[in-house]
């Protein structure tokens, strides 16, 4: 899954989250009513940001964008079943006729393509197209931002610096091409992926566009992002600064696609609207056939959720993200200070500010979200022992108190004073710097934190980074003492969480924990878990690792979040698509 792109409003869902869980629909209302779906009409999505990050299937990585594009435009080898509830987490064949056949201890995966599927220009989709699509992500200078699993898993030799010897279809060496041709092979309509290790859940990656067909002769590299060839029921006819307009792809045939049921005639995302304006449109139902793509503003939540009028037009879900602040261990080596910072924090004030348990979620107990039901267990190291408990009392096991366990924090500070005086001095005199993104709603939390930490004599200040937040904080030299962050699983396995966040091989290690005394043992255990094919045993290991990371305070866990959805009165059949962590957009229809 992906970093949490914090837009000015909710944490915009970044990433596909595959989350197997039953916890999801906390108070969610669904209008999965019995009425027969009607075709026709225009479905609007009202959005604040100026565009989606990417449209190129090889480059999409954020949950909402994936859910959207995969619902309408881009077909992948396998897909999540777009039905409500837990059933939605099951993989179903999409472009392939099966959900992948592993062999050789899951080091080899085979998919057979379904006949009759075409691109929007009518060309039949062949195995070579999928292979070509797969090759593109290796051209990291052109095709960036997508999930990087293929580069590390496909059986292609690596350079000394860890990059692949194959550099994609645009510019390459014969040796690299040969290696890629060996790793991905086509035989008739069957495509075979040869991996360098056992990946039991490789087929989950096949729900991503990184394994999807692209026609070589139509590949315009960077520019392909603007108008990629549709394989689903809709194609892009306009992609401008104000809207993305999708109309029916006449070459798409229902018979070749068991997953999608295209109801509206057109689908339009309207970009760049003021958030307040979007909410007002929703409140007034000005455009009944519109969905608020980003969710309501915090200020307007009560208007939607405390008014029975909106009962059929709202949804309040747990979102797939665990939010945390990553300690930069290079700059914050003193465990006691990190502990003090955890306990001194006024989590209650922050949660209340964010909307309280009703809207904002519950106190995090680790980095594995409860939505990852298989791998989740309250760590009982941090947070409440029962993760749903939001009462402001001291937890007997962990010592956590939502409004801050000042005494405990002070004790840690006192310990730090003697144990690591330099760090103590820094915390109390120079001040600790926290990386964050400037956003209207988050700005207000700064005074809350400043006040909370002052209770134990810790001084904090903020380094607000407007552009290029993640690239900046991922650069160890530019990262401050703490970095605000969030993470959700890429699919229903903590293998896309723990290794990503806490090992040097991971793509999102903001903790810089490789020098920590506890690191070596931790890494060994991660490697063991990765090899473990018994899902139950593996889950037990992930739970332990989550606990261990918390014990070491490599991060300061904050929230398991919630998200709200709002839509117009004519939008029907709205339900939460569990694995994508968003609505099943493709199932919406307009009641005209």
């Amino acid at each position: 899954m992906r970093k949490n792109a914090i837009s000015t409003r909710v944490l915009a869902a970044l990433s596909a989250g595959a989350l197997v869980s039953t916890v999801i629909t906390v108070g969610a209302t669904s209008t999965a009513n019995a009425a027969t779906p009607k075709a026709g009409g225009t479905l609007y999505f009202l959005e604040h940001t100026p565009r989606l990050d990417h449209y190129d299937p090889s480059r999409i990585y954020t949950g909402r964008d994936l859910a959207f594009m995969n619902s309408f435009h881009t077909r992948t080898l396998v897909a999540y079943n777009p039905v409500p509830g837990e059933k939605g987490t099951t993989l179903v064949p999409d472009l392939a006729t099966n959900t992948g056949v592993p062999s050789n201890e899951a080091k080899t995966w085979k998919f057979t393509l379904r006949p009759g599927s075409t691109f929007e220009d009518g060309k039949a989709i062949t195995c070579e197209d999928v292979k070509y699509g797969t090759s593109r992500v290796f051209a990291t200078d052109v095709i960036n931002d997508g999930p990087a699993y293929l580069q590390s898993w496909l059986d292609i030799p690596k350079n000394a610096d860890g990059t692949s010897t194959y550099t994609g279809p645009y510019k390459n060496t014969p040796a690299g091409v040969a290696a890629f041709n060996k790793a991905v092979t086509c035989k008739g309509s069957t495509i075979t992926f040869n991996l360098n290790k056992s990946i039991a859940d490789f087929n989950y990656l096949a729900t991503y566009g990184v394994i999807s067909p692209v026609q070589k002769k139509l590949d315009t590299g960077d520019k392909y992002d603007l108008n990629p060839q549709a394989t689903g029921p809709y194609k892009i006819v306009e992609n401008s600064a104000t809207q993305l307009r999708l109309v029916r792809n006449t070459k798409w045939k229902k018979s070749s696609d068991p997953v999608r049921t295209p109801y509206p005639d057109e689908v339009i995302i309207q970009f760049g609207l003021d958030e307040e304006v979007i909410d007002q449109i929703m409140l007034e139902d000005t455009i009944p056939n519109a969905v608020n793509f980003g969710g309501p503003l915090p200020t307007n939540r009560d208007k939607f959720f405390k008014d029975a009028k909106f009962a059929d037009r709202r949804m309040n879900n747990s979102d797939p993200y665990a939010r945390y602040l990553a300690f930069n261990l290079v700059k914050m080596p003193c465990l006691e200070i990190r502990q003090a910072m955890y306990y001194a924090r006024d989590a209650k004030a922050l949660l209340d500010y964010a909307g309280g348990p009703d809207y904002a979620g519950s106190y995090a107990t680790g980095v594995i979200s409860p939505l990852l039901a298989t791998d989740f267990e309250a760590t009982k190291v941090v947070g409440p022992s029962d993760y749903k408990n939001t009462a402001d009392v001291i937890d007997a096991t962990t010592g956590f108190k939502p409004s801050g366990n000042v005494a405990k924090a002070q004790a840690y500070m006192d310990a730090a004073k003697t144990k690591c005086p330099a760090d103590y001095k820094k915390a109390t005199e120079t001040g600790i710097v926290i990386d964050g993104r400037p956003s209207a709603s988050d700005n207000d939390t700064i005074p809350i934190n400043v006040a909370a930490y002052a209770r134990v004599g810790i001084k904090i200040s903020y380094n607000l980074i407007k552009s290029g937040y993640y690239p900046t904080v991922m650069d160890a030299t530019k990262q401050s003492d703490l970095s605000t962050s969030g993470w959700g699983a890429d699919w229903a396995n903590a293998s896309t969480v723990i290794p990503e966040l806490f090992t040097t091989a991971g793509g999102f290690n903001l903790s810089q924990n490789s020098k920590d005394p506890a690191y070596k043992a931790f890494e060994d255990k991660v490697n063991l878990a990765m090899k473990t094919t018994d899902r139950k045993k593996q889950a037990a290991l992930w739970k332990e690792l989550d606990k261990e990371a918390m014990k070491n305070f490599w991060v300061l866990p904050t929230l398991f979040g919630k998200a709200q959805e709002i839509w117009g009165s004519a939008v029907q059949n709205v339900f939460f698509w569990v694995p994508q962590g968003n609505l099943a957009y493709g199932k919406l229809w307009i009641n005209q």
Binding site: E276, P298, T299, R301, P438, N443, D444, P447, A451, Y462
Partner: protein
């Protein structure tokens, strides 16, 4: 009318009343009721801002105190009228419940600081360049004129928006200042950098016409030094136009600070400025219009007052523009 005329005639018979231009201007200004009221408001606001800590102490309000218990889950103060009460004369800010009046007072300090320093710096550079160009003329004036024209060709607002992030980072990197100090420096520096050419044009044209006036010619004929001519003859005669421009550009810079904060490229929280408050207010405009009205109203009031003072000063100092 007639009787008034008579009495005027009867009194002070035969005395020639002579007044210095300054006195005349002051008389004219004093008679402008709107100008006087505005000047009063401006001075009061400036004083309140300058002595914000004292004022807050007297009123018993604290800009940093959070009243999270008075805020509901949507961020709106739970008390009626946004919490306006004796403890909080203008109510609370939404979100975290800080005292609005205290925040307006403290926030105005940065806003005024930016506005005043920018105006001061821009005037300073404008005066130097304008006087040098207007007084020495010739090639120097040519070059300076070209340079001012060149700067005026830049889309200033655009450039400041575009340069904000990278330049602030640059300032921080050089270690001159960190955080908001760096942002304040950036704003003041760049606003005045793009602001002085306007002033310099005005000063230059004034100097050019003053130069030809008899008293300057006379001073030159008497062999007065350049320094003397510039400081004793030219400068005193520049103050009138300068004061007018200053009073009219101050509110402009005050509003500019708000605009940049509104766009998210100005001062950053937890500091408070009027721009930050307004940006905040914008988010709550439909649910908590009080906050928006009070904050926007304060900005409009101050800008209005400053503008009116500027207008009144111009009318008082420029006899041609009688009202």
């Amino acid at each position: 009318m007639v009787s008034k005329l008579k009495s005027a005639n009867a009194s002070a018979a035969g005395q020639i009343i002579s007044r210095s231009p300054r006195q005349i201007a002051w008389r004219r200004f004093r008679r402008n009721k709107v100008g006087m009221v505005s000047a009063g408001i401006s001075i009061v606001v400036l004083m309140l801002s300058l002595f914000a800590p004292v004022v807050c102490k007297i009123l018993g309000i604290n800009p940093d105190e959070l009243n999270l218990d008075l805020i509901d889950s949507s961020g709106i103060p739970t008390l009626p009228n946004g919490g306006i009460s004796r403890e909080h004369p203008l109510g609370l800010t939404p979100g975290i419940g800080r005292d609005l009046l205290a925040n307006l007072l403290y926030g105005s300090r940065i806003s005024f600081l930016v506005a005043f320093l920018t105006t001061g710096l821009a005037i300073f550079i404008g005066l130097i360049v304008g006087i040098v160009g207007g007084y020495f003329r010739g090639r120097i004036d040519d070059y300076l004129g070209r340079f001012t024209d060149f700067l005026l060709a830049f889309p200033a607002f655009f450039m400041i928006v575009a340069l904000s992030e990278p330049m602030v980072a640059r300032i921080q990197e050089t270690g001159i200042a960190q955080g908001n100090s760096a942002r304040v420096i950036f704003l003041i520096f760049f606003l005045s950098f793009f602001g002085w050419p306007g002033f310099s044009r005005l000063v230059r044209s004034q100097v050019l016409s003053l130069r030809e006036r008899d008293f300057v010619t006379a001073a030159q004929a008497m062999g007065a030094s350049r320094k003397r001519i510039i400081f004793k003859e030219l400068m005193p005669n520049l103050w009138a136009p300068v004061i007018v421009v200053v009073s009219l550009s101050l509110p402009g810079y005050l509003a500019a600070e708000a605009v940049f904060s509104f766009l998210g490229i100005g001062i950053q929280p937890p500091a408070t400025t009027w721009g930050i408050l307004l940006d905040n207010a914008r988010r709550f405009v439909t649910v908590y219009p009080n906050f928006f009205l009070i904050t926007a109203g304060s900005l409009v009031l101050v800008v209005l007052a400053f503008n009116l003072v500027g207008d009144a000063l111009r009318d008082a100092l420029d006899p041609r523009s009688e009202r």
